[in-house]
Symmetry: C2
Subunit: 256 residues, 2 copies
């Protein structure tokens, strides 16, 4: 079990799992409101899903807004994510090259504590962002998403391992189950990889069938779970207050 070490001054440092609320508003004003409302629900961090933001192509505006979002959230750590359309993100015309430049600008300005970049992107881009993020003290999540189905156990384990081999600080794998056997496969891969990897990992099975992984996945080694604030960012996310209530029950039952 490897928890994610946030800034030691943050309340959630070392907690298992961290609770993260995604921000998905399209406009700057709505984002600031969403951030404040989300922070009031007591998560450990927020994820800005910048691919939903109407100004995503304007790098300077994004960097400035990231700082204002963190401020509106009372200083909560920010995970900055431009999810690519290939892995379930919003289509907004941004090329992968432009996305790398946007991430780089955010890292250079230290406008986020963490970034999330898909491990399946151009290896040169992954290397470039790993360097920029590391040199600015920004943690890098490397992620894999399958919105169509659930790869085999060995494939899932390989994705977790690949993230570590690429130098990720955190490995993330999200799948869409087509039946409860797929949910078991995701949990098994999570448990096996959490024993093998030296970095923390995050996993979830999406949709209604996978929703229980958002509550129980931490017991199998998943170090972060996403709960919906006003709007969720992926199918199966529970409202964050229900997520927190469920986690409290399970932590108590598990004696942790």
């Amino acid at each position: 079990m490897k928890p994610i070490q946030l800034d030691p001054n943050s309340g959630g440092a070392g907690r298992m799992p961290l609770v993260c609320i995604p921000l998905v508003a399209r406009g700057a004003g709505a984002l600031l409101q969403e951030a404040a409302a989300a922070a009031a629900k007591g998560p450990d961090l927020l994820e800005w899903r910048v691919d939903f933001f109407e100004g995503v192509a304007r790098s300077g505006e994004v960097v400035a807004l990231a700082a204002r979002i963190a401020q509106a959230a009372g200083g909560l750590p920010l995970l900055f994510t431009r999810r690519c359309p290939r892995e379930g993100g919003e289509s907004n015309g941004l090329s992968e090259r432009q996305a790398v430049d946007l991430y780089s600008a955010v890292c250079s300005a230290r406008a986020a504590q963490m970034i999330d970049f898909e491990m399946g992107n151009d290896p040169a881009h992954v290397r470039e962002l790993r360097e920029v993020s590391r040199s600015n003290g920004v943690r890098m999540v490397m992620s894999f998403h399958d919105f169509q189905g659930t790869p085999a156990l060995e494939v899932l384990n390989r994705h977790f391992l690949q993230a570590e081999q690429l130098g990720a600080d955190i490995a993330k794998v999200a799948v869409m189950p087509r039946g409860m056997q797929d949910v078991l496969t995701l949990l098994t891969a999570t448990w096996q990889s959490s024993q093998r990897l030296s970095i923390p990992l995050v996993s979830m099975a999406m949709g209604a069938e996978g929703a229980l992984t958002r509550l129980c996945g931490w017991a199998f080694g998943s170090a972060m779970t996403f709960g919906a604030g006003q709007l969720g960012s992926a199918p199966g996310q529970l409202p964050v207050d229900e997520l927190q209530a469920g986690l409290a029950l399970l932590r108590k039952a598990a004696g942790r």
Copy 2:
């Protein structure tokens, strides 16, 4: 997914999973109080763990008390269980032969809707009780418990199948996990067997590590879960109000 069909007049008929509170008091007066308090928490049925009862050797007293317990519980269905010491029950000097006679007396008086008898008992006893229970319209759970560890996946599947082959109405398997892999094995066996068997099944991994199966097991096909009233009967049981709150969250998240 095969729910347990209780008496159609019962509130819990067909619900997935049924919530059952075990009664474990030693004295008759305490049992009646425990039954009333348990019923007030809104479970679908109660299990009288008669091996805890100080009067277990007095068959007539047990039969009469079963009726009073059901009355004190406002008519909730009663699962009557004498757990044998070999599978985690209280040692009380009752022989297996005496236990069979006790079960038979309860069935003949129709003082319980269901009985639970270990499938590992003398096959002649299993057959005898199957006949007596069936001819009196009493459902028969056939159970297997391992308080020391978790058998392999194929062994667990074989236990579920054995119960069906012996003519059980419901198959029950409970194990003690020695790590989260064992929890996954129990859930996988539950899911696989629930697809293969024609009867409902019940499963749980006990202890703190297995506690999540008491909340999530139904999603993998387990048709009943046990929550503690005043006192639990097995390690890892959640207080029933927490169990019900967690189930409500999970049902909603799963869209059921």
